[in-house]
């Protein structure tokens, strides 16, 4: 989704606010939200990330980090049918019958690497172009790289494909590569001629250039 979360290359977001000796959690409730997000059944990590992307853009910008995690957790639990909005408002379970836990939210292995999958479509040193795609669902191909040309510098091996995994449409395991994009390819003449941005990209995001 071309959402507000896809921030790479935006300007005018203000100075970076650095806090010295920052605590891990600023309030006890932030720690609870963090732990609940890790422990509660929310499907796979890609679907969790998609849950944050579903926050309305103005809310996304306004909320603190853990406010976003709280809104995401509530939204995801309702979206996946783990609890009802009514139960969240009440803070207690509806009398009965209890909701069965949907299959897709059952805990699963956290690693995204897979031993098998499609053969690699590219090799190190290949010139590739990031495809110009604009999916409405979850994707890990940032807007700022679409249509740009880079070079494969490393094959990381086979990983679950987030675009389908987030939607519970299968893991579609495929190769992920480190792709080097010259800063000037991404940003034009204003960028330093020496600098580069490296993105990790799945086979389905790339075409031969």
């Amino acid at each position: 989704m071309n959402g507000i979360h896809d921030m790479g290359g935006m300007q005018d977001m203000g100075p970076i606010r650095y806090e010295k000796n920052e605590p891990v959690f600023h309030q006890p409730w932030e720690g609870r939200v963090f732990a609940l997000n890790v422990a509660a059944p929310q499907g796979n990590l890609d679907n969790q990330r998609y849950g944050i992307e579903l926050l309305p853009p103005a809310e996304y910008l306004r909320m603190s980090y853990y406010e976003k995690w709280l809104a995401r957790l509530e939204g995801t639990l309702v979206r996946l049918g783990v609890v009802t909005r009514h139960e969240i408002e009440d803070g207690k379970a509806a009398p009965d019958p209890p909701l069965p836990i949907p299959v897709q939210v059952q805990p699963r292995a956290v690693t995204f690497r897979r031993d098998a999958g499609a053969a690699p479509r590219f090799e190190v040193k290949h010139r590739v172009r990031a495809r110009n795609i604009n999916p409405v669902g979850h994707t890990r191909l940032p807007r700022y790289a679409r249509g740009k040309v880079g070079v494969i510098v490393r094959d990381h091996g086979v990983f679950v494909f987030p675009d389908t995994n987030a939607a519970f449409e299968g893991e579609k395991p495929q190769h992920v590569y480190s792709v080097r994009f010259a800063a000037r390819e991404l940003w034009g003449e204003q960028a330093s001629p020496r600098d580069a941005v490296y993105l990790d990209m799945w086979d389905d995001y790339l075409e031969r250039a």
Binding site: M13, L36, H156, V176, V197
Partner: protein, 207 residues
């Protein structure tokens, strides 16, 4: 890739002014339904508040500075070499270590969310997850570094690593001049979280 419209606007509402109450209510609901165990939540919070943090990464970097064979293993298979020191777990399953040199400076960001190598650095600071850092690091890395007080000469190549997949990055900073006689432990005390993200260098003054 989903074709349907994301049906969300009716599902979400503003977070009320007191998120603490809301979290408490949600926790008791999930406990009542048997979906989470409060003791497991306590353990998670304790782990990331007290046990896992940038001191882990500092020990990895210090070891690499004093032990060339370890450094080689770290650059070849970071997850395994970091595991040798006992650091592993969530968000550290697929690690890569990026070596800074006199000619190359590495900087790590996650423009899409907040990906970060938890086992070696702990949970990320607020600025790393903020819009200003996420948006600007890729388009103006030298400006971002200046904001952190680091002015890099033009002949140093800046490499920005956008954590778009499940790889997690740790910068191996340059060992500061004048530290030749220091022990591994003394070196570890100099190494800051910021240097391992790539927004600063390691100096003899430490963090």
């Amino acid at each position: 890739m989903r074709a349907q419209e994301p049906a969300h606007h009716h599902e979400h509402q503003a977070v009320p002014s007191d998120p603490a109450l809301r979290v408490k209510a949600l926790e008791s609901l999930l406990v009542e339904k048997g979906l989470v165990d409060p003791a497991a939540l306590d353990a998670l919070i304790d782990t990331y508040e007290n046990k896992v943090g940038p001191r882990n990464g500092a020990r990895v970097v210090a070891r690499a500075w004093v032990d060339p064979a370890y450094k080689q293993r770290l650059l070849a298979n970071a997850s395994r070499a970091i595991g040798e020191l006992g650091y592993q777990g969530m968000q550290g399953e697929q690690m890569l270590v990026l070596e800074n040199t006199p000619k190359v400076h590495n900087l790590v960001v996650c423009t899409l969310c907040s990906c970060y190598p938890w086992p070696v650095l702990g949970l990320p600071p607020a600025w790393y997850k903020s819009a200003p850092y996420r948006s600007r690091s890729v388009i103006d890395p030298r400006g971002v570094l200046r904001e952190f007080g680091l002015q890099l000469p033009d002949d140093i190549e800046v490499r920005v690593w956008d954590s778009t997949a499940e790889l997690r990055y740790l910068v191996l900073p340059e060992r500061p001049a004048g530290s030749e006689k220091m022990t591994e432990e003394e070196l570890a005390a100099l190494i800051t979280r910021d240097a391992m993200i790539g927004v600063s260098r390691v100096t003899l003054a430490g963090g």
